[in-house]
C-alpha cells in the first residue's frame, strides 16, 4: 500500500518489445489485437512469465489453463485481477474470491437464482429492454452500438433481478470502470469505486430488512450459510459486488464482439437471419472466439504446469480467451465457424469457479442478437468511425459505430 495518495499513481507501463519474456495485457498493442500475441506466446512455451505486475505467469494453451483452473491447492482465487500492486485483501466478493472449503457453500447460495429456468422468467424483460434501446436510435440509420445498445442490456437486466432501479445503471458502469480498468494502475480509483458501491448496496440492504420482497437482494438476506446461520451483511455485500462487477461489462463485451463480428461478416448475418435456430450454436462460437473474460490466480505453493515450474508469490493471468484459441484443442481455432459442432470452450471458466451467471449471459446474448437481427438485419461498421476495445481483464468493443437502414 502507498504512504501518500500521490504515490498510488503508478507510472505508465513501458511499451512491450519482447512479448515472450515481458508480456503486458494492458499494452495498447494487446488491447487492439491480442490474437497474434497469444500465438507467439503459445509457440514459445505453455507457460510464460513477466516481471511486470510484481511477477506474473500466463498459461498459453488450453491444457495449461485447465490444469491451473482445476488446481485449487497451488493456485488461490483470493486475488482475481492481475494489477500493478498487491494491497491487503479487503473487499472480498465470495464465491469468486473464495477457495475450498469456503467456496462451495458461498456458491450454492447464488446458484438457484441463476438456473436456466430462472433465466427464462427474466427473458421477456430482457427482450423488452433490447427493443426499448433499439427504438431510441433505429430511425437515425447509424449508432454507436456499444454506447447505445450492448452497454445497457446487462446492467438493466441485473438491476431488474436485484430489484433496484434500472436507471441507476450509469452509476454501476462508472464503478466497474473504476475497479476493472482504472484500478489496474490506480489504487485510489479502485477504492473509491468499491466504497461508493458498498455504500449504495448497504442502503438497499437496510431497506430490504425493513421491507423484504422477492428480489435477489432479499433472497440473499433470507439465504442460510454453512451451519444454517444467515449470511453476514459483509458476505451479502461481497456477493452483490461480485454480481455487479462480473455481470455487466462481461456480457456487454460478449454482445458487442458478436455484433462486431456480424457487422463485418454479411454471410454469417444472412445465415442467422435465414436459420434463427442456429443462433445458440453461433453464440457459443462467439463466446469461444471472442471470450471476454480473463481471470487471475495467485501461486501459493511451488508446482509445475505442463512441465513448467511456477513459483509462489507470482500472480497468474488465467486467459480463458487464449485457451479458446488453442489449435491443439479447436480445429481452425482462428476462424469463426458459426455452426461448430464440437465446442468445449472455456469462456465461462473451468472447474469450481464456473461463472455463476453463465446462463444469464447466454440468455442476454441470444436475446440481444435475435432482437437486433429482427429489426436491423443489414448493418456494417461505419468507415468514418473507430472501433475501440476495453483494456485489461475484460475485452470487448467500447465504441462500435455502425451504419444501417438508409445508410446500410
Amino acid at each position: 500500500m502507498s504512504d501518500s495518495p500521490s504515490a498510488s499513481f503508478l507510472p505508465e507501463h513501458p511499451p512491450v518489445t519482447d512479448w515472450v519474456h515481458d508480456f503486458d495485457h494492458t499494452d495498447p498493442v494487446w488491447t487492439d489485437d491480442p490474437f497474434p500475441i497469444w500465438e507467439t506466446l503459445r509457440a514459445a512455451s505453455p507457460v510464460v512469465h513477466t516481471e511486470r505486475f510484481l511477477g506474473c505467469y500466463m498459461p498459453t494453451t488450453y491444457q495449461a489453463v485447465k490444469e491451473i483452473a482445476y488446481d485449487t491447492e497451488h493456485f488461490s482465487s483470493r486475488r482475481v485481477i492481475v494489477r500493478d500492486v498487491r494491497p491487503e485483501i479487503s473487499a472480498r466478493a465470495p464465491p469468486i474470491t473464495s477457495d475450498p472449503p469456503e467456496h462451495k457453500p458461498a456458491k450454492q447460495v447464488l446458484l438457484p437464482p441463476f438456473t436456466p429456468d430462472a433465466m427464462k422468467r427474466l427473458e421477456p424483460r430482457v427482450r423488452a429492454i433490447c427493443n426499448e434501446l433499439i427504438d431510441e436510435f433505429i430511425a437515425d440509420g447509424h449508432c454507436d452500438a456499444a454506447a447505445r445498445y450492448t452497454k445497457h442490456i446487462p446492467v438493466r437486466a441485473i438491476a431488474h433481478m436485484l430489484g433496484i432501479p434500472e436507471k441507476d445503471g450509469d452509476l454501476f458502469i462508472k464503478w466497474i470502470h473504476q475497479i476493472l480498468e482504472l484500478g489496474i494502475k490506480d489504487e485510489n480509483e479502485m477504492m473509491s469505486g468499491v466504497r461508493e458501491m458498498t455504500g449504495y448496496f448497504m442502503a438497499h440492504l437496510e431497506q430490504r430488512k425493513l421491507a423484504p420482497s422477492d428480489d435477489l437482494i432479499s433472497q440473499l438476506l433470507r439465504a442460510k450459510g454453512p451451519g444454517g446461520q444467515p449470511l453476514t451483511d459483509e458476505h451479502v455485500l461481497g456477493s452483490l459486488r461480485l454480481l455487479l462487477i462480473a455481470g455487466i461489462d462481461t456480457t456487454w463485451s460478449a454482445i458487442g464482439s458478436s455484433l462486431w463480428h456480424l457487422a463485418r461478416t454479411p454471410a454469417d448475418r444472412e445465415r442467422l437471419i435465414a436459420e434463427p435456430a442456429l443462433i445458440p450454436t453461433a453464440i457459443e462460437e462467439f463466446l469461444r472466439a471472442y471470450s471476454p473474460v480473463t481471470m487471475a490466480r495467485e501461486v501459493m505453493k511451488e508446482t509445475t504446469i505442463s512441465g513448467c515450474p511456477v513459483k509462489a508469490g507470482n500472480m497468474v493471468l488465467l486467459s480463458f480467451p487464449a485457451a479458446n484459441r488453442d489449435p491443439a484443442m479447436f480445429p481452425d481455432a482462428d476462424k469463426v465457424v458459426i455452426d461448430r459442432k464440437e465446442n468445449r470452450h472455456a469462456a465461462f471458466g473451468l472447474g469450481i469457479h464456473r461463472c455463476v451467471g453463465s446462463n444469464l449471459a447466454r440468455m442476454e446474448m441470444q436475446v440481444a442478437i435475435e432482437e437486433w437481427l429482427k429489426r436491423i438485419p443489414d448493418f456494417r461498421l461505419d468507415p468514418a468511425g473507430k472501433v475501440t476495445w476495453s483494456e485489461g481483464t475484460v475485452r470487448g468493443p467500447r465504441q462500435l459505430p455502425v451504419l444501417f437502414g438508409k445508410n446500410a
Partner: protein
C-alpha cells in the same frame, strides 16, 4: 445401432448446462443447475446424435456415453 447409455459424473459437472441445452430430452438440472441423466440414462432410439453432441460439448468432460 447399439443402445447408448449416458451418465453425468457428479464430481466433474459444474453446471455449464450445455447438455441440457443441446439434448433436453436426455438431461435434467437440479436446483443448483447441475446436470443429471434422465432416468437410468438409457438413450431412446433416435436421440443418439444428441447424446454425442452433449458429450462433445461438455467443457468439464463430465458426460460418459457407453455403448451396450
Amino acid at each position: 445401432m447399439s443402445k447408448l447409455r449416458i451418465r453425468v459424473d457428479q464430481d466433474k459437472c459444474q453446471g455449464h448446462a450445455r447438455c441440457k441445452s443441446l439434448a433436453p430430452e436426455l438431461f435434467e438440472l437440479d436446483e443448483y443447475g447441475n446436470a443429471h441423466e434422465v432416468g437410468d440414462g438409457t438413450v431412446p432410439a433416435g436421440l443418439e446424435d444428441k447424446a454425442w453432441l452433449a458429450q462433445t460439448n461438455c467443457p468439464e468432460i463430465a458426460i460418459e456415453v457407453t455403448e451396450e
